[in-house]
């Protein structure tokens, strides 16, 4: 039996290659994701080993605001200089160096723009001289307060040389320094993992990077001879008390690497999610291929049954075939995945100046296990249904001339309706807030339900669609052909549906979000101009003095600013917003008091939105405690609760807190101009005032909303690129179906050629069939995607989705692209059809 299976497998190499390709692509994504994260993980291990190579023990202060990694890093606390002296006095310490270092030193390049990186930090620190790691290349270290040394990566990125003047943004607004030295690292490296570094003198670094004189961010300790890092760690911990974290170099390295790997695993999950979509679509393709194979082998299988083969043997023979394909596809997919993983890691390490030194290629066990598990499982599961169908072929079919007639679609349709209803229910539960898994499960089950209903839809939709092409005889024949086997047409179209439905769904949501943003902004924001920068771990800020000058511009009626930092409110980490002029701010956003007042009387006051107040059982007169990154705990009194707004939420606190913010500068500014005054003119003037704050820009209201929604476009592009894989697999499905159709209809093609059909007409006929299938799939995808998107938007009505909008142009583009996809998919089958040898096709069997 096994021998017969393998032989029949080999005889259909090409067909299986196509369905195998779908599995190969899916497996490639899965194993590629694992290889990528493994390679990057080990590369970062190496990076941190370099960074901590000179540290036996490190000392850091316990942060006052503990924030988990996911929210963008911790808010470090500072170590007073006295602690450094204590550490130096501990026996066994060979040397102890205080480091005043933090992310957020942004140098302005020669082109006047702030130099940015894609991920690596921009570190500002105190110059501690050359070490085993740091080597001066040119010039010297900074000795005066207006001098800096920069690492070679910074020099290259900013185009700076020794002797140049350079502006640097830190916790304080732009300051000008002279570059006196350029340094590199052991091994001739320009940077450590792409980080940009600027070294100041110690007092300057303390003031600009840590915001306080006489403090350090960490202390690096080297052990003397005969002292192990563990002994030294214990001794130092005892000497300086429980307010500080004392760790060995190894612990620090592990801690840093763990934090990073969490980020990588998030990345990994996204890639695997897309692999899941690809494999789901691949399942349709495999299911279809096996159905066709079983149909074509009906007589062969019936003969097997007639000769005494059992049902189990028939199922076994089909599943063995699937297993072998899955196995081969997994091996190929794994190999391709290793290539993709390494390639992506290389990109990650070299694009955007990251300069990460890659560790050697490694294939983690997870990559191998998941490749085989996923590849084989998906193939075998997809082949299960056709296998069962094959086992039901009666032995008598071996003797009958024609295959069993097309079974009615009733059962399938009822099943599809039930599955779709179940999917919709899950989806509804997921959307009403019962969790992301219910939501995803709902989407998946709905897709299967729609796919089951597709054969029923195929006949009428295809017949209507085909009218477009019926003006020519080949077109008409192509349309009739695509309606010939509704199951096959349906499943091929359904594969295309999945990818397009997801893209369309996301698109509907984002388009609605953009429209809602515009709508909300126009209704609830009275500010005409908005000053803002890119949000990030360290928010872009601008000089508060700018706002005083803005207020003096003729035509400006009102201004407001807001300050932001991460803090801990009643023990919970969250963003803290301070608003100096609450009355102006409330007017900017049409905030109205639900209780209490919306004007500060003095320090230590806050207002809160009504939803949060109700949720936390807070009311006017209550007191909350606020801990910022520095300073003592603040006791803040709630003086007002404001009614619900779609743009503003949470605490708005009085300006006395700002002094404890890491950056005591505004992050956002709002300007209202008098009616009749040109907004554009005022904008120009504000623009000029912001010349020394290059990280922020001023925009009018709709321009600002456009800036916000531009992020949606980036998101959409990414999703489109990743889902392109699913669509590529669907295209393979169309090629597969057409190739089989051409093969099955060789005789008909021969006849058509014999009675005078030209090659070009034959190709047109096949192309029309492909286009009808692909456009049908696209229409399904657009319909399902619109449904999913609309349901989501409706469910999020209370979360600011005021409008439902459809991206008509984009949807039309998708439809056009789908037609194009059909044409492309038809190329090879059409050529094969045109090359059919007339004589061979019609000669006796």
């Amino acid at each position: 039996m096994l021998k017969a299976t393998l032989k029949s497998l080999l005889s259909r190499k090409l067909r299986l290659l196509l369905s195998g390709t779908a599995v190969v692509l899916g497996v490639m994504f899965v194993s590629g994701a694992f290889v990528l994260t493994d390679t990057l993980g080990r590369s970062f291990d190496g990076l941190f080993a370099t960074i901590y190579s000179g540290t036996d023990v490190g000392v850091a202060a316990k942060p006052k605001v503990a924030i988990d990694e996911f929210d963008g890093g911790s808010v470090p606390a500072n170590i007073p200089a006295a602690v450094l002296d204590k550490v130096k006095a501990v026996p066994g310490v060979a040397s102890a160096t205080g480091s005043a270092s933090a992310d957020g030193a942004r140098v302005i390049g020669r082109d006047g723009k702030v130099v940015t990186t894609f991920g690596p930090p921009r570190i500002g620190e105190n110059w501690t001289g050359e070490t085993g790691l740091v080597k001066l290349r040119e010039g010297r270290g900074p000795t005066a307060d207006n001098e800096i040394a920069i690492n070679a990566a910074t020099a290259k990125a900013a185009g700076l040389h020794v002797g140049d003047q350079a502006g640097v943004l830190t916790l304080q607004p732009k300051k000008i320094f002279t570059v006196v030295g350029i340094f590199g690292y052991s091994g001739g490296r320009d940077s450590i993992g792409g980080a940009l570094e600027i070294a100041f003198t110690e007092p300057v670094a303390q003031q600009l990077m840590l915001g306080q004189p006489g403090v350090y961010s960490s202390i690096d300790v080297r052990a003397g001879p005969g002292t192990t890092p563990d002994q030294l760690r214990a001794a130092i911990a005892t000497a300086i008390g429980p307010d500080y974290q004392v760790k060995t170099g190894d612990q620090l390295r592990a801690q840093a690497a763990d934090g990073l790997k969490q980020g990588l695993s998030f990345f990994n999950n996204i890639l695997i999610g897309f692999a899941g979509v690809a494999l789901f679509v691949g399942t349709f393709l495999i299911l279809n291929t096996f159905s066709i194979i079983v149909a074509q082998r009906t007589r062969e299988l019936a003969l097997m049954r007639a000769l005494g083969g059992s049902r189990k043997q028939v199922i076994g023979s089909v599943l063995t075939e699937a297993f072998v394909i899955g196995l081969i596809a997994s091996v190929l997919g794994l190999a391709a995945g290793i290539g993709v993983g390494v390639g992506l890691a290389w990109l990650f390490g070299n694009v955007g100046g990251s300069a990460l030194e890659l560790a050697g290629v490694g294939v983690p066990a997870a990559a191998i296990i998941s490749a085989f598990a996923v590849g084989i499982l998906v193939t075998v599961v997809a082949a299960l249904l056709p296998a069962i169908r094959a086992s039901r072929i009666p032995p008598i079919a071996a003797l009958q001339e024609s295959a069993t007639p097309d079974r009615p679609l009733t059962k399938l349709t009822i099943g599809g309706a039930i599955v779709l209803a179940a999917g919709a229910t899950l989806l509804g539960l997921g959307l009403s807030g019962s969790g992301i898994w219910l939501l995803l499960g709902g989407v998946l089950v709905s897709f299967i339900g729609v796919a089951l209903l597709t054969p029923l839809l195929a006949r009428p939709v295809v017949s209507v669609l085909g009218r477009v092409f019926s003006w020519s005889v080949p077109g008409k024949l192509g349309r009739l052909n695509s309606g010939r086997n509704p199951r096959r047409t349906a499943i091929t179209a359904a594969a295309l549906m999945v990818g397009l439905a997801l893209i369309t769904g996301v698109n509907v949501i984002l388009t609605s979000a953009t429209k809602s943003l515009h709508h909300t902004a126009d209704n609830q924001v009275t500010a005409d101009l908005i000053i803002a920068g890119d949000p990030g771990a360290m928010p872009a800020t601008f000089d508060a003095a700018v706002m005083d000058k803005v207020r003096a511009i003729p035509g400006v009626t009102r201004t407001a600013t807001e300050y932001m930092d991460l803090g801990s409110v009643n023990g919970k980490a969250e963003g803290v917003v301070a608003v100096p002029d609450l009355a102006a701010y409330a007017a900017m956003f049409r905030l109205s008091p639900a209780s209490g007042t919306l004007a500060f009387n003095g320090p230590g006051e806050t207002v809160l939105d009504i939803d949060s107040a109700n949720k936390q059982h807070l009311k006017v007169g209550d007191t909350i405690s606020v801990q910022l990154s520095r300073g003592e705990m603040h006791k803040i009194k709630i003086i007002g609760v404001y009614s619900k707004s779609d743009v503003i939420g949470g605490y708005l606190m009085s300006s006395d807190l700002i002094k404890d913010f890491r950056v005591a500068q505004p992050t956002m500014g709002y300007v209202t101009v008098a009616p009749g005054t040109s907004v554009a003119t005022v904008k120009q003037q504000v623009d000029k005032l912001l010349v020394d704050s290059p990280e922020v820009t001023v925009a009018d209201r709709s321009g600002y909303v456009d800036q916000l929604s531009a992020q949606f476009n980036t998101l959409l592009t990414m999703i489109q690129v990743l889902l392109a894989l699913a669509i590529l697999i669907a295209v393979l499905g169309i090629v597969n179906t057409l190739a089989l159709s051409v093969l099955e209809r060789t005789r008909e093609l021969g006849l058509l050629r014999a009675i005078g059909m030209r090659r070009a007409q034959t190709m047109r006929m096949v192309t029309v069939e492909a286009v009808v299938i692909s456009v049908f799939g696209a229409l399904l995808g657009l319909a399902v995607g619109t449904g999913l998107g609309s349901a989501t938007v409706r469910a999020l009505k209370d979360d600011g989705f005021t409008d439902l909008a459809f991206p008509w142009t984009t949807m039309a583009t998708y439809l056009g692209l789908a037609a194009l996809v059909g044409v492309v998919a038809a190329v090879i089958p059409a050529i094969r059809a045109a090359r059919v040898n007339v004589l061979a096709a019609i000669a006796h069997e």
Partner: protein, 249 residues
């Protein structure tokens, strides 16, 4: 000169010293060995011979479905040897009709659409009067809206005959047209073919190995081992059978 013109006017198709070989070296098979034959216009010709005699190969060569190794093939004044695929397609559209043993109807089209298909493919308007004549001759008036799967074998073959006739080709090639039919349905088809020759002057060439089928023809030519060995005019089934026996011995 006058003689040549006269000849081409009365000859629908001819083969001049046609050789056909398949394969090469040891595996070489010679199917036709220098065949010279002229098929007259307005006549029903049957080609007979034992299996492997080359009768099908000869018909395929005459119809332009297969190339020849040596020699020349003409349909009317047109030389087929050397024509491109496009040229052959045009020829098939305008001058040739086919009837196959397997009927070869398109299952997606109705009987009427199948009959009109050659005209539709060529983009020609059907002549309604001729269509009615053809349909009535084959007796399919009440079956026009049926699909092939709803027709019997004999009815399907009559649709195929109508399809071959609809474009009024110079010549119709029928390859074992009764091979898949019972004798009653076969007789219907043969009578119909005979009538179209007598009533409409249609030229038909039929390959068959059934002496009864051959007896409907005006002329039977016999092939054996790639040679044209004999011919018979105004044949009867018995005469054909006798002649076949002498060839096969």
């Amino acid at each position: 000169m006058t003689l040549t013109v006269e000849r081409t006017r009365t000859i629908a198709a001819r083969a001049v010293d046609v050789w056909k070989t398949y394969g090469s070296g040891e595996a070489q098979v010679v199917a036709l060995r220098g065949i010279n034959v002229e098929l007259e216009r307005g006549q029903f010709t049957a080609i007979m011979g034992p299996s492997g005699s080359g009768k099908s190969t000869l018909m395929h060569a005459l119809a332009g479905l297969d190339s020849v190794t040596r020699g020349q093939v003409f349909i009317g004044d047109t030389r087929l040897t050397g024509l491109s695929d496009g040229g052959l397609t045009t020829l098939r559209r305008t001058k040739v009709g086919f009837i196959f043993q397997q009927f070869n109807l398109l299952p997606t089209l109705t009987a009427e659409e199948n009959i009109l298909l050659p005209l539709a493919i060529a983009g020609r308007k059907p002549d309604r009067a001729w269509f009615d004549t053809v349909v009535d001759t084959v007796g399919l008036r009440d079956r026009l809206k049926h699909r092939p799967s709803q027709l019997s074998g004999g009815q399907q073959q009559r649709v195929a005959c109508a399809r071959a006739l609809i474009s009024r080709p110079d010549i119709i090639f029928a390859d074992e047209p009764t091979g898949n039919l019972d004798s009653r349905a076969g007789a219907d088809v043969l009578t119909f073919l005979r009538n179209s020759v007598v009533q409409h002057g249609q030229t038909i060439v039929m390959v068959t190995h059934d002496p009864v089928a051959a007896s409907y023809a005006d002329r039977v030519i016999f092939l054996a081992d790639g040679h044209l060995v004999d011919e018979l005019r105004a044949p009867t089934a018995d005469a054909v059978l006798d002649r076949l026996k002498t060839i096969e011995v």
